[in-house]
Symmetry: C2
Subunit: 111 residues, 2 copies
DNA sequence: ATCTAAGTACGATGAATGTCAAACTTTGAT
DNA sequence: ATCAAAGTTTGACATTCATCGTACTTAGAT
């Protein structure tokens, strides 16, 4: 019935523990940067399978894992789907303008 | 006599050929990020040996090479010393706010 | 009760990367 | 003419990383 599942929520790092090193390591990968950019462009949250990615499912899982550990995205289950949100405001509080600059540069690079 | 040597100038990429991917690959390394931050904080250009780095000379050379290839720094010789400048304005033109956000975040991360 | 869709977990693998030491080059000073 | 300082080059090495296929789990639909 499309209800949110609280049991299988993976661990998310507190905002205060987010490091620049991890954020950059996350965003240096084109696939992960694409995920963040697509999230930034979207109005609603996106499930893992809803992204335009050119990698296998297991590889995609790997990338989402790294993005979550870096503190860039928040994940929650809805049925069998895992939804993704960009933690933009939280990261902006720690590293002002960082995500914005990278996302903008990424968008520009793809055109 | 401390004159600038034009002969041994290494190749620098044109601004238009600078890619986000290369810039991020350059700045994801802590040593290279430290170089850029020190350059950003300094008033004058800095020679390779003038940075506070905790790596060997050959490793430092490697890092400067990558920063130059990425288009982040400009290098020129003065005697036996290789001077380094940050190509801030040029990169700002291509990726607005990117260097600033990363340098600011890096400074904050070190304190 | 089955079956399918959506992800995850687990190796395995091949490529890239940061590091250093040693030998070399070049410039400026003695 | 020698010597030292500043970087570079090369080669080696260990580590990390992105990728995939296969097997597995879980939830919802039939």
């Amino acid at each position: 019935m499309g209800l949110v599942d609280d049991e299988r929520i993976p661990r998310h790092p507190d905002v205060r523990t987010i490091t620049l090193q991890q954020v950059l390591e996350a965003l240096v990968d084109p696939v992960r940067r694409s995920i963040v950019t697509q999230l930034s462009d979207a109005r609603a949250d996106i499930k893992c399978g809803g992204f335009d990615l050119r990698v296998s499912k297991s590889t995609a899982t790997h990338h989402f894992h790294i993005l979550r550990e870096a503190g860039l995205i928040r994940q929650y289950y809805v049925g069998t789907s895992r939804m993704n949100t960009l933690r933009r405001d939280e990261i902006d509080g720690v590293f002002p303008g960082l995500v914005d600059a990278i996302v903008n540069a990424d968008r520009a690079s793809r055109s």
